[in-house]
């Protein structure tokens, strides 16, 4: 049963360099200060999941991203891995969108592209980490979704069984297609591109969708404006400063234990 799958991906600053990031207090937008960009780690798992499904069932994979022109890079990387087509939602007016605006913009893209059997997302991005966009995208598209998915498989051509993680339990969820899954990080081992894949990618298509395209595909009463906005950014001041116990090791240890005892800790 060939599947028509969409993978939503995002270009993010490499989390390894997060200490070099700062927010511009005037604009409320993140400044990357020379930090390199990568595909959001969770999204690499989503791409791999789509590729695995295609290996088994055949079909087509489209990758979509919302971002500035530089974000084409994550689509190119996805195409080199075996994704068939890339789509970039790119417009000045999309910058600084909150999660619902993002969901609506991506939803417009999905409607323009004609709909899918399965939509795969990483459950969160490493930069904003709200965990909100996948679920909101599903609601805007009026399809069901399952978040925090750590495992899934088809029980028949139209039905998926997923394991959905919570802090305390694993929920078993049965869904019929079309459905959106937000995947936990690390649920698979993302493959690396092959030389053949990189060469083939050059012939694949990246489609651009801008704001005016989106306006024609919005739901009733919808617009792409953000409801939330940043009004203040300030440096996080340390809540407290530890009292440092100094001196000879055993004496310090004794002092600490006495203090803990006094606090009733043991």
């Amino acid at each position: 049963m060939p599947l028509n799958t969409l993978v939503c991906i995002k270009q993010v600053p490499d989390p390894q360099y997060s200490h070099r990031l700062f927010l511009n207090v005037q604009t409320g937008v993140g400044e990357r200060g020379g930090v390199p960009s990568i595909t959001n780690p969770h999204d690499r798992n989503a791409i791999e999941a789509a590729l695995s499904l295609k290996d088994t069932y055949g079909g087509k994979i489209t990758a979509i991203t919302m971002g500035p022109p530089a974000a084409r890079r994550v689509l190119e990387d996805a195409l080199a891995l075996g994704v068939d087509e890339g789509v970039i939602l790119c417009d000045h007016s999309f910058a600084g969108s909150d999660t619902l605006a993002t969901a609506r913009i991506i939803a417009s893209g999905v409607r323009i592209l004609g709909g899918f059997d399965l939509i795969l997302c990483g459950e969160a991005s490493s930069d904003s980490a709200t965990h909100q966009v996948p679920g909101q995208l599903a609601v805007v598209l009026d399809i069901p979704h399952v978040a925090s998915v750590q495992k899934f498989h088809f029980t028949d051509s139209q039905t998926l069984l997923t394991e959905r993680r919570t802090e305390t339990d694993i929920l078993l969820v049965e869904s019929s297609l079309p459905v959106l899954l937000a995947l936990c990080k690390g649920i698979n081992e993302p493959r690396l591109p092959t030389v053949a894949g990189i060469i083939a990618a050059a012939k694949k298509n990246i489609r651009e969708i801008c704001a005016t395209d989106c306006f024609g595909a919005l739901g009733e009463g919808e617009n792409c404006r953000s409801f939330s906005k940043v009004v203040e950014i300030k440096e996080k001041r340390a809540a407290k400063s530890a009292e440092i116990l100094a001196g000879e090791m055993r004496g310090v240890a004794r002092e600490l234990l006495q203090r803990l005892k006094a606090r009733g800790v043991f």
Partner: protein
């Protein structure tokens, strides 16, 4: 009257800790008489309505059906959204657990309003026109900044709260409130396009760690001390649980269930001892609720010392054995 609406999530048969925290915080946002809670589940959920009132809720909407025993993403969010449309609260505060974030995201999309994730501070302010505005503060910019967000026009104003940051609602059995039976109209089985059909305990969820009163955690700094043996010894001597940072997990010293932090377990023990961890935000955010924190690190400028009550600067390989010796002495002469 300013109303604040809260979801009372049920986790393993009890109200989830973060839900009590949300109720406590929402009390500050609501006018007297305006704190409302929503309970969704099967018959077993009903007794919690009275508990919600004892914890300060002025009104509790109880939406019960056999099919709602387990969390159902679409059904729960649609029920919650309908209650919100009926009640028109000024704000909706939901605990930032995994299910809470899922429900809040769906509800915000259904209601067409903004939602701020994992708030570490929430304050209600009066605007010049007298209208209440919720100031929603989150950690951002790589974790070094406090970012304040508002939803100036759309209503209700929605936020999820980070776990373990706000104190839980206090219980007072004298508090009175209304319990409202909310009629549930579920679509027929043919519509249930996505349905939770079963549940298993999540061994990897870190529940054991979350219950521990004493926790000893280690970070990459334990490498120079030969690994986690000293952490294990200290934990055993204190009768506590072992935990660590992502680096400790990557080294193979701990399991994922023992990893504290933003993508790991959140803990709030009586005592947390952290050794050899510099104190990166994605780690320290996992123990904001810890009552007493002791940090041990060789770098006096390590950020961990801004998250601790007491600190010892030096080599963990010497400090922990010293502690172990003193604990032995204390155990022999408990005075």
């Amino acid at each position: 009257m300013k109303k604040a609406l809260v979801w009372l999530e049920i986790q393993q048969g009890e109200i989830a800790p973060v839900a009590w925290e949300a109720l406590g915080k929402a009390r500050e946002m609501a006018s007297p008489g305006g704190l409302q809670a929503v309970l969704i589940g099967a018959d077993s959920a009903v007794p919690w309505a009275r508990e919600a009132v004892y914890h300060g809720a002025d009104e509790v909407f109880v939406a019960v059906a056999t099919d709602l025993a387990l969390y159902q993403s679409e059904a729960y969010s649609q029920i919650f959204a309908r209650i919100a449309q009926y009640s028109s609260p000024e704000v909706i505060i939901i605990g930032g657990s995994m299910l809470g974030v899922d429900l809040a995201s769906s509800v915000a999309a259904l209601l067409g309003t903004g939602l701020t994730a994992h708030c570490v501070e929430l304050t209600m302010e009066s605007q010049s026109n007298g209208e209440p505005l919720l100031k929603q503060t989150v950690l951002g910019g790589g974790g070094n900044m406090l970012v304040t967000i508002i939803c100036p026009e759309a209503r209700p104003q929605m936020a999820t709260i980070a776990r373990g940051v706000f104190p839980p609602a206090k219980r007072d059995a004298r508090h009175q409130g209304r319990i409202i039976d909310w009629e549930v109209k579920l679509p027929d089985k043919a519509w249930w396009r996505s349905r939770t059909i079963g549940i298993e305990p999540n061994e990897a969820g870190g529940a054991a760690l979350r219950k521990a009163e004493i926790v000893v955690a280690g970070g990459f700094g334990m490498f120079a001390a030969g690994g986690f043996a000293l952490i294990r010894e200290l934990a055993e001597a204190l009768g506590g649980a072992i935990a660590g940072t992502r680096a400790a997990f990557d080294q193979g010293w701990i399991k994922e269930t023992q990893m504290i932090g933003q993508s790991g377990v959140t803990i709030a023990p009586k005592l947390l001892i952290v050794a050899g961890a510099s104190g990166a935000l994605h780690f320290t955010s996992g123990f904001k609720g810890a009552q007493t924190v002791v940090a041990i690190d060789k770098n006096p400028k390590a950020p961990i010392f801004t998250c601790a009550d007491w600190g010892i600067v030096g080599d963990v390989a010497q400090i922990i054995p010293a502690l172990l010796e003193e604990i032995k002495i204390l155990n022999k002469n408990p005075r």
